[in-house]
Structure formats: C-alpha cells, structure tokens
C-alpha cells in the first residue's frame, strides 16, 4: 500500500488539476459563478431559520445554528458519496486509454467537495458572529474534526466508487441509505433528544450515536462550535473526547480498508467500463 501511495504522490499534480477542473467546470456558464457555492448554504440558513423561528416556534434560541452545524458536514458526506459513486464510470475514456493511479478519480471528487464544505463553513462562521455566538476556545479543534471526516469520506468513497464499476445497484443503494441516515443521524434533532427519550435504551443510543463515526462527528461539530444546548427539559451532554478518539480510529481504519479494497480491484476497471 505504501508503494501505491508513493505513486499517488507522484501524480499529485493530476489530482490537483482534476480538483481545479471540477471546481471550474461546475459553475463555468453561470452568471454568479463561484458564488453559487456560498449562496447554497446562505439560502439553507435563511430557510431553516424561517421554519424553526416562525413556523415550528421551538422557542430554542438559535436553533437554526444547531441545525446547520450538523447539516453542512452532512452535506459534505452525502455529496462525497454520491459524486464519487459515478467517478470511475464517468471517466471511462480516461481509464481505458491512459495510465494513472485510479484512486485519483474518487479522491478528486472528495477534495473538491471538501473545498465547498470549507467555503460553507466560512459562511457559517460569519453567521455565528452576526447572531452573536460567543467565540469558543474549542473552535481550535475544528481542523482535526474536518480531517477525521475527510478520512471517513475518502474511505467510503473508495468502496462506493469501486463497487459501482461492477454493480449499478450500489448507486441506488447509496441513495436509499443516505436518505435513511438523514433522519437516523442527529441532524434535524440533538443527540440529547435521543438520550432523554424514555423509549430508547441508553446502551442502544451509545451504540447508534457514539460508536458510529459519522454520527459522532456530526455531534462533535456541534459541541465544539456552539455553546451547550440547554432547554427546560433537555440538558446538555458534553462531548466525551474518548468517543472522538474512537471515531478518529474507526475513520482511519475505514480509510485504509477502502483504499486497500480499491487498490485490489483498480486494474480491472479498464476491462469493465
């Protein structure tokens, strides 16, 4: 695997060029161009604020900030998986006619989504300052969490992009699973809601929400970026950094497993696309 990685490093310029191409082409013929990347999260902020402030009237101050804080990394995950599923098939002509480390295809997709995510985070920070969220010292942990999520996204992208070359079902399966995850993961609600529910056993909640790296990461984004979430009935549960360490380890293992899986099959792609 180290040899594969060294070869990938040799081709870093191609990786860079493909990321740039992806970013350039996406908005090439649009008037607003790159601003679409910013406009999307801005419109999400506006819509979510209206829904939760004026329609649902939860009465929780800045609920939309808590929502967005998990929604943005969720979008990063979702787009990475969906886009990378088609990455090898989409570049079939390249795969059939040229030599280059195949992992560049899904990797460039995940990296260009990372850039969109970072832009969206920038908008999110402006929003936080506008609504007067106090600056937290834990903001310093953010790069580490983004990096852990990058590993996780890459690992899943390797599996999905590789399998999708052989089975079209993978793309559809991914759509179904992502739709389920959208509600199963603490995006629209807080993890505190789960632990305060009398219908879900504590141990089950720990397994589903803390041991699952994606869920734990979404929780971690909230905990480090926003002040504790407290209402009349719900009390904040602080982030247990041991679970974060575990999520980092799991993500790293998924990354390595995905890379190994991809590498073991990548030279048969040219015969299949």
């Amino acid at each position: 695997m180290l040899k594969e990685f060294a070869e990938l490093l040799r081709y870093r310029e191609l990786l860079y060029n493909l990321v740039v191409r992806d970013l350039k082409v996406r908005y090439k013929n649009s008037v607003l161009g790159f601003f679409w990347s910013l406009l999307n999260p801005l419109l999400q902020v506006a819509t979510i604020t209206i829904v939760f402030k004026f329609i649902l009237k939860l009465g929780v101050p800045n609920y939309s900030a808590y929502l967005l804080c998990a929604f943005l990394p969720w979008t990063f995950f979702q787009m990475s998986v969906m886009d990378s599923a088609m990455s090898v098939l989409f570049h079939g002509d390249l795969v059939k006619k040229t030599y280059f480390p195949r992992e560049i295809l899904p990797a460039s997709i995940v990296l260009s989504n990372l850039i969109h995510f970072i832009l969206a985070l920038g908008v999110f920070f402006v929003y936080l300052l506008v609504i007067g969220t106090p600056i937290q010292v834990t903001w310093l942990v953010l790069p580490a969490i983004v990096f852990i999520q990058l590993l996780l996204n890459m690992g899943i992208a390797f599996f999905v992009s590789c399998l999708n070359v052989f089975y079209d079902d993978v793309k559809y399966m991914a759509t179904v699973i992502l739709n389920l995850f959208y509600f199963a993961l603490p995006i629209m609600y807080m993890v505190e809601h789960v632990f305060h529910s009398d219908r879900i056993p504590h141990s089950l909640a720990v397994v589903l929400y803390y041991l699952n790296p994606l869920s734990l990461l979404l929780i971690a984004y909230r905990k480090i970026l926003l002040p504790p979430f407290n209402t009349a009935t719900i009390h904040d549960i602080p982030l247990d950094y041991r679970y974060l360490a575990l999520a980092a380890l799991t993500s790293f293992v998924i990354f390595l497993a995905g890379y190994a899986f991809f590498n073991s099959r990548k030279w048969t792609f040219a015969e299949r696309v």
């Binding site: 081709y11 191609l14 059939k96 040229t98 089975y167 079209d168 040219a270 015969e271 299949r272």
Partner: protein, 252 residues
C-alpha cells in the same frame, strides 16, 4: 540496451455476454456461472532495442491494441512480464481528459498532467505546443468552440511534447489534413533521430514502410512474423488477400 522486453505475455479477458449490471442478475447466475474467455494475447515474446521503430500490423481483433494497452499499463498482464526501460508515453487516444467547457490553455495543462508531465515541463514547451497545433488565436477560447480537427491537433501537439524514451502510438498519427500529417511524420522522424524507441500500431501500410525500421505481424494474439519491414508486410499482404479469395473460406 533493450528498451522493451516482453516475455511470454498472456492477456485473457472474461467475456460477459450480458454484464452483471445488478446484484439480482449476479445472484441468479451464481449457480450456473459459466464464462467465456477471450485470449487476446497468447504468449507473446519479443524485445525492442533502443532506437528502433517497430510497427505492429494485423487484422482487427488480432491483439494489437491489447498489446499496446498492456505495455501502457492500462491492463495488467494475465501472465508474463512487460519491462519498459525508460520513460514511457502512450498515445492510445488523443486529448485524454479534454473538457469542452475549459479553454485550450486549461486543457493543455490538464491533458499534460494526465500524460505525466509536471506543470513546469508544460510551462517550458507551452508555446511550442500552441504553435505546432497552429491554434495561437484560439488557445484562450473554450474547447467547445473548436472544430474536431482543431481538438485533435491540440491533443497531438501536447502528446508529442512529452519527452519520452519510449513512445507507444495507437493509430493516432492520421490526424488533421495532409499538411498537418506531414508535420506529424516530421516530428516522428525527429524523435527517431534523437534515438527514441517507438512502437506503433497502424493499418496504413504505406506509413509503416515509410517510418518503421522493423515490423511485426500479430494474428489471433500470436506473432506470425517479425523482422524486416518489407518481408513482414509482404507476408501479411499475401495472407490477407489470399484469405479473401481462398475457396476454403466459409461462404457468407
């Protein structure tokens, strides 16, 4: 020294008449899983000394492109070894990775990096690429505004700037109008005089006898003849025309 050493190379493709496009069809066929195999290359061995220009001829489906693709590392050999001593540039298709929405400039850099060139190398020969393609006026326009001939010319100009020790070419020399083709062949001669090793596949027998210093005839994944250009071409032509008129050939 030998630039290319091929030893007992086999390449077998699994032929699926109907690709397992879904898990369901895979599951259904698990019990009675039979495969047809296509033996595209059947134990090919040859060496190419440095500085030689080897032309590979043969009918469609004789394994020429598979041989080139395996040497270009697009396919892994089923068995046998491929040793390439030096930097390899493979022109199996022109303009790999070209995107119609990007400008000529952006595509040159993208295509160059796919062919394994660094940004600095492309910077150095960028003007040569543009002038060779005769696209000075259009290079900052998006590729979708180009004619197909212009796209091919640009693809060829980038490809020819990769300074390889070994150049693999799959029928991409017949690009553009007559004048541009003449330029292409001049470029090939220039590479020859620099002592580069060239291996090319062509159906254009005139080009083969003009450019090659050695020829090889592939048939059904095996070498039928190898050596002097005129001798090999003679055998090849004799066989193909004889085959057409052969009374033993099944009537269609």
């Amino acid at each position: 020294m030998d630039a290319i050493v091929i030893e007992n190379l086999h390449k077998t493709f699994r032929l699926s008449h109907e690709r397992h496009g879904s898990l369901k069809s895979l599951a259904l066929s698990f019990s009675r899983r039979t495969h047809d195999y296509v033996h595209a290359l059947n134990g090919i061995s040859f060496t190419v000394p440095e500085g030689e220009t080897l032309a590979v001829v043969g009918k469609n489906g004789s394994g020429k492109s598979t041989l080139l693709s395996t040497m270009a590392r697009v396919y892994k050999p089923t068995s046998g070894t491929v040793t390439m001593n030096g930097r390899v540039s493979a022109l199996l298709a022109l303009g790999a990775g070209f995107h119609t929405e990007l400008t000529g400039i952006e595509n040159v850099y993208l295509n160059g990096s796919i062919l394994g060139m660094s940004r600095r190398e492309i910077d150095k020969c960028f003007n040569q690429i543009v002038s060779f393609a005769e696209l000075e006026e259009f290079i900052d326009a998006p590729l979708r505004t180009y004619s197909s001939g212009m796209v091919m010319r640009l693809g060829f100009s980038v490809a020819i700037q990769v300074r390889p020790d070994i150049l693999l070419v799959d029928e991409v020399l017949a690009v553009g109008d007559e004048q541009f083709q003449r330029k292409c062949y001049e470029k090939v001669r220039e590479l020859q005089s620099e002592g580069k090793t060239i291996l090319f596949v062509s159906h254009d027998l005139k080009a083969v006898s003009d450019v090659a210093t050695r020829a090889m005839w592939l048939d059904s994944g095996e070498i039928r003849a190898d050596g002097d250009v005129q001798t090999v071409l003679g055998k090849y032509v004799e066989n193909t025309t004889a085959g057409d008129e052969s009374p033993a050939a099944p009537a269609l």
